[in-house]
């Protein structure tokens, strides 16, 4: 990629560079699936070449139409969404998006989901042929239609099955994205870890609901939706910390991150990188500010590489 403009200063790259599952990220600031489109939409808002990486909108083997509106509603400190995983499909991503994305020097993580084991595998096989994908991220927070619609990510067994099946075919590292809607995030993490996952990312959204008191209808057509934004940060930090106690693979922290201070909380709690989600909507350039802030913080605290922060909670 030597022909690409590299907009990261030498000092910045030394202090912020992190490696996860063999992938070298220029910094630990990534963006979360479903909040960054297919990456290109941000090309004229931020310097994509300065971003550590991004996760694509969730991809399925075939394109999906998604849920009827309303799909989103703002809540206190966050928002609910039920997009219904509308996406262009894995094939179109490979043929239409990747060629353009290869012009940028940032890591592309393909977020994948399915409603059965087979669909996950099918999507991965399509993406295996795509050039310019650094890793896969499995969204396991969807119902398994073949198993009576139980949410895969809510069952350690089901989650392990998907992880194993995908690992068998995946030509790239597999990051498994954990659902927070479980009694024990540790148990889920351990199951996924022993199934061969290369890294964790957490959290996905909390299931929530909002009602219009005049029409008495749910504010989201799907009735329930996923809660995200600053409101969920304390739950996300806690889960990162719990998983860090049992993990021997890297953790990518997600949940309510809106500034560099939020990011540092996740590093201390045990995350080696972070993903910014909802904040991309209301502060489209926040990732650049987060990178600036982390650099300054590390310099002030005499931290020569940011991974020195990881899992350093003092009690």
């Amino acid at each position: 990629m030597s022909d690409l403009i590299n907009t990261t200063s030498k000092e910045e790259s030394e202090i912020l560079a992190v490696e996860i599952a063999g992938i070298k990220f220029k910094n630990p600031v990534l963006t979360a699936s479903g909040t960054f489109g297919y990456g290109l939409d941000f090309a004229n808002l931020i310097d994509l070449n300065r971003l550590g990486g991004f996760c694509s909108k969730g991809l399925s083997p075939k394109p999906m139409k998604g849920n009827p509106p309303p799909r989103i509603v703002e809540t206190h400190g966050g928002m609910l969404n039920a997009i219904g995983l509308q996406n262009i499909g894995a094939k179109a991503f490979v043929t239409d998006k990747l060629p353009l994305l290869r012009n940028y020097d940032t890591k592309v993580i393909a977020n994948v989901f399915g409603y059965s084991l087979e669909e996950y595998v099918e999507a991965i096989e399509i993406l295996n042929d795509g050039e310019g994908i650094a890793a896969y991220e499995l969204n396991i927070s969807c119902p398994n239609v073949k198993q009576g619609g139980i949410v895969i990510g809510n069952s350690p067994v089901a989650a392990a099955e998907v992880t194993e099946a995908v690992k068998r075919v995946a030509k790239r590292p597999v990051i498994v994205k954990l659902s927070p809607n479980v009694t024990s995030i540790k148990e889920l993490a351990l199951a996924v870890q022993s199934a061969g996952a290369d890294a964790f990312s957490l959290i996905n959204t909390l299931v929530g609901m909002s009602i219009d008191i005049y029409t008495r209808r749910p504010r989201i057509a799907n009735v329930t939706g996923g809660l995200s934004g600053p409101a969920v940060k304390p739950v996300a930090v806690r889960m990162c910390y719990e998983v860090a106690q049992v993990a021997n693979i890297p953790i990518i922290g997600i949940g309510g991150i809106a500034n560099w201070m939020d990011a540092v909380e996740f590093f201390i709690a045990g995350a080696k990188a972070i993903q910014v989600g909802t904040a991309n909507y209301y502060d489209p350039c926040c990732t650049m500010k987060i990178i600036d802030g982390l650099l300054e913080y590390c310099q002030k605290q005499n931290i020569s590489n940011i991974s020195q922060l990881v899992n350093t909670l003092t009690r």
Partner: protein
């Protein structure tokens, strides 16, 4: 599209329900009719999300742009915008969205504008440009009552054929704007028009149906709850027809302007 912090140049209150906000943007924007911006008071954390606002007016003065918005104070977002003072900072992203195309009007040489409630402001820039193009313009504006007719004088200043209706008859003709529109079309069966509309879904739907009866093409500017305003959340969709089937199109990118017959209206 610019993501930038701008300054409140003026804020004007119409009663307790409406506001006109004038922002100074320290750059030039080329705003097309029907486009919008995402706005929120700078640094405010409640609400988190910006609100979409259609450009009402814009004026470039040596490199800077003054932009005006008119909004109805409903919930948290508009309340926080209504509390701004002159000199306060505002987070601004825009211009955004697909604009009204003047081309069809240029071929029909005549255009009709149908505005309802707080959808009306989104039509002023379009009206001005159609006049510039020398297109024969008839404007139909509707509102609940005289207190909901905001910015009406800017439309009358264009001295085109202007018909105003209020539901309660407190100003202009009593009744829905669609009634006035139908009368007009009955009297002008022979003529060709292009119709542009912005307002409540129900009004735009009826307007499209009426226009269809007279073989007139309608362009409607839609609203939807928006989280991002630039295409990445896919939260703002409306169902639109395709050759065989239908798809969910993003109001912020594929819209806000759609062909009336393209939209699968759901009120």
């Amino acid at each position: 599209m610019k993501e930038i912090i701008v300054t409140v140049k003026n804020i004007r209150h119409f009663g307790s329900a409406y506001c006109q906000l004038t922002l100074e943007v320290p750059t030039s924007l080329n705003i097309e009719p029907g486009q919008f911006a995402m706005l929120k008071p700078a640094g405010s954390l409640e609400p988190l999300l910006r609100r979409a606002m259609a450009f009402y007016q814009s004026q470039e003065i040596n490199g800077n742009t003054l932009v005006d918005f008119i909004f109805h104070i409903l919930g948290r977002g508009t309340q926080s915008l209504a509390q701004l003072h002159i000199g306060d900072k505002v987070e601004f992203l825009g211009p955004l969205g697909k604009s009204f195309s003047l081309e069809p009007a240029k071929t029909t040489h005549r255009a009709i504008l149908v505005g309802g409630g707080v959808g009306t402001p989104a039509l002023l820039i379009l009206a001005q440009e159609l006049c510039k193009e020398g297109i024969d313009l008839s404007i139909f504006l509707g509102a609940r009552s005289i207190n909901d007719l905001i910015g009406i004088e800017d439309f009358s200043r264009l001295n085109t054929h202007l018909v105003v209706s209020t539901d309660d008859g407190s100003f202009g003709e009593k009744g829905f704007v669609t009634a006035a529109l139908t009368n007009f079309l009955e009297e002008n069966k022979d003529k060709e028009f292009t119709l542009y509309t912005c307002g409540p879904d129900i009004m735009m739907h009826r307007t499209t149906e009426i226009a269809n009866r007279y073989g007139i093409k309608t362009y409607a500017s839609l609203e939807a709850r928006m989280a991002c305003g630039f295409g990445v959340c896919v939260g703002c969709v409306v169902e639109t027809k395709t050759a065989q089937d239908s798809v969910y199109s993003r109001v912020c990118v594929e819209g806000p302007v759609f062909e009336g017959n393209e939209v699968i209206w759901c009120e």
